[in-house]
Amino acid sequence: MTEILLSATNLSVRFGGVLAVNNVSFDVRQGEVFTLIGPNGAGKTTVFNLISRIYNPTSGSISYLGQSLTAQPPHAIAALGIARTFQNIELFEHASVLQNLLIGRHTHRQTGLWQDLFFTAKARSAELQARHKAEEVIDFLGLQHHRDTFVAGLPYGVRKVVELARALCTSPKLLLLDEPSSGLNVEETDDMAYWIADIKNELGITVLMVEHDMTLVSKVSDRVLAMNQGQVLALGTPREVQTHPAVVEAYLGSVDDVSSLRRQAA
């Protein structure tokens, strides 16, 4: 039995009259790639925002390594080893790629304000250590060419990778990827699939992602959770979920819907 890293129990969120997430429960196991799928507005990103504490759940709880996440303030999440990327890239645009990655090392800072102000020997060595870690990530994702480029000048595809790199720089145990392949072309999506597999196999980081591209999902996911309108439809291997009748209905409509559209036989 593999260890359970994160478990959500009966999560619900209500925004005014909209029940965005409705009684959702799932477990993410140590070392797996767990994917949330579902049509637009299914509540996938909301689940992400619950885990990174941007929203408060209306009811239900999230526990991570045995402790309750809902008791933590939003900025404490990264220090617990949970890193995330955003659907609409949220990088620090007026800074270089390297600086972005170094910001990712923030939770591992060893110096305080005064040491920084005088740039003491400790600040210097901490800075070099952070740089070594950032360079490891740069090597891992092949970002060498873009190291000193400003993010504002980078194409979309590269920004996506930089955001992944910044999340990896925090040395997470759990990585939340919000639509890692959105806006990427076929080759870039293939690269992303390899990286996600490498993140799992080589770095041993558990991945929880939201994704629409079913090719990518079936390539890398160990388990898939399908949602629609805030509710869980199905949970299982990619194969099982894709053929699950409720999932097919959510994406394509039911047989009844389709047959009612057919012209009546003369």
């Binding site: 900025h75 620090f92 645009e93 007026h94 910001i103 090392r105 005088f118 740039f119």
Partner: protein
């Protein structure tokens, strides 16, 4: 064109990235050290003011340029610093201790003013800091037992443990030392986690938070540091003027400070200095040019205000990156000659949410 061959990560941490930096900044320091002997007393006084304003500008740059929080009441911190210095110096405290107290008290006030910044942004923060500026001005005018009210207050000469800095030259060197130390402090912050956290907050709060940056802590820290620098500048300003009154720290002074960093170039340390040079020398230039203009223009009241307005509008329209941005373009043009292209610095229009600096 210069190519830097990097063989060591420590190279990226160095303040002087290559020989050119060492040469030019070394030359600048020598020039500043020699200034009392190569300029007139009048221009030395102007240079002293430039250094004082640059220190205040560094403070505001840290807040507005690097943390993305605007303050329309920064003159108030200048005032708090100046009055603290005045009261303590007159009570007989030596200069360094009084300066520390001035910085400390300003920082404490900055911390309190920073608290609303945790809730409000943009124009609302501008309004909050603006009204704070009015409150401080009013306090300085009404608290007559300490501040002397609208009649103002005289400040004794700075006293460095028995050595009284009486002459303009001595005070110039004092300002130079303070300005150099403040600049080094800011540069150190910017190459370390604290400064990067500020920049992260400026560019995207939500992702700064998800990287583990405590927004409230760093925003108030930025306010406190910025206010401390303004307080130090205020203390020096008080000594230089020898007489301070509440109307020296009013809204116009706050606007001057903001104007200074916008014209200098928001988001660059150079910008604080270039802005200070601009702010101090422009009135001098206007005075010089005035004599050559026809009387109807040259002697017209409000000429200075019009020139300021025109310059500011022109900068916002044609050079949003300020004097430092202009200098970068000229330098790149010279380095790449004849391959400079017109669009090289053109901002890419990006329709990302994080594009919030503008």
């Amino acid at each position: 064109m210069r190519f830097i061959f990097k063989t060591d990560y420590a190279q990226d941490i160095k303040l002087a990235k290559h020989g050119g930096h060492v040469f030019w900044y070394g030359g600048l320091v020598l020039l500043l050290l020699a200034a009392p002997w190569i300029t007139t007393e009048y221009w030395l006084a102007q240079l002293t003011f430039i250094l004082i304003y640059a220190v205040a500008g560094l403070g505001l740059m840290l807040l507005a340029g690097f943390t993305g929080l605007f303050s329309l009441g920064h003159a108030a911190f200048l005032g708090v610093g100046a009055y603290t210095q005045a009261v303590l110096t007159n009570a007989g405290l030596p200069f360094p201790l009084a300066l520390l107290c001035a910085a400390g008290l300003s920082a404490a006030v900055g911390f309190v003013v920073g608290l609303p910044a945790l809730r409000v942004k943009g124009i609302y923060l501008g309004m909050a800091t603006l009204s704070f500026g009015f409150i401080v001005e009013e306090v300085l005018a009404r608290w007559e037992s300490v501040t002397g009210g609208n009649a103002g207050i005289h400040i004794k000469k700075p006293d460095l443990f028995g050595w009284t800095l009486g002459s303009g030259e001595e005070f110039y060197f004092l300002c130079l030392v303070v300005a150099v130390l403040s600049t080094l402090g800011i540069l150190n912050l910017l190459r370390s986690p604290t400064g990067r956290a500020f920049v992260a907050i400026r560019d995207s709060e939500i992702s700064a938070q998800s990287m583990g940056i405590h927004l409230a802590r760093y925003k108030t820290l930025s306010f406190a540091l910025s206010a401390a620098l303004a307080g130090v500048a205020g203390a020096l300003y008080g000594h230089k003027m020898q007489f301070i009154s509440p109307d020296q720290f009013n809204i116009l002074q706050s606007i001057d400070l903001l104007l200074m960093i916008v014209i200098g170039g928001v988001g660059s340390v150079h910008g604080a200095f270039l802005g200070a040079i601009f702010l101090i020398t422009l009135p001098e230039l206007i005075t010089i040019v005035k004599d050559y203009l026809p009387d109807t223009v040259g002697q017209a009241p409000g000429l200075k205000a019009v020139v300021y307005g025109v310059v500011l509008v022109s900068f916002v329209l044609f050079e949003p990156m300020g004097l430092y941005g202009r200098w970068l373009k000229i330098r790149t043009y010279l380095q790449m000659f004849p391959f400079y292209r017109k669009g090289m610095f053109k901002r890419q229009k990006s329709f990302q949410k994080s594009d919030r600096l503008k």
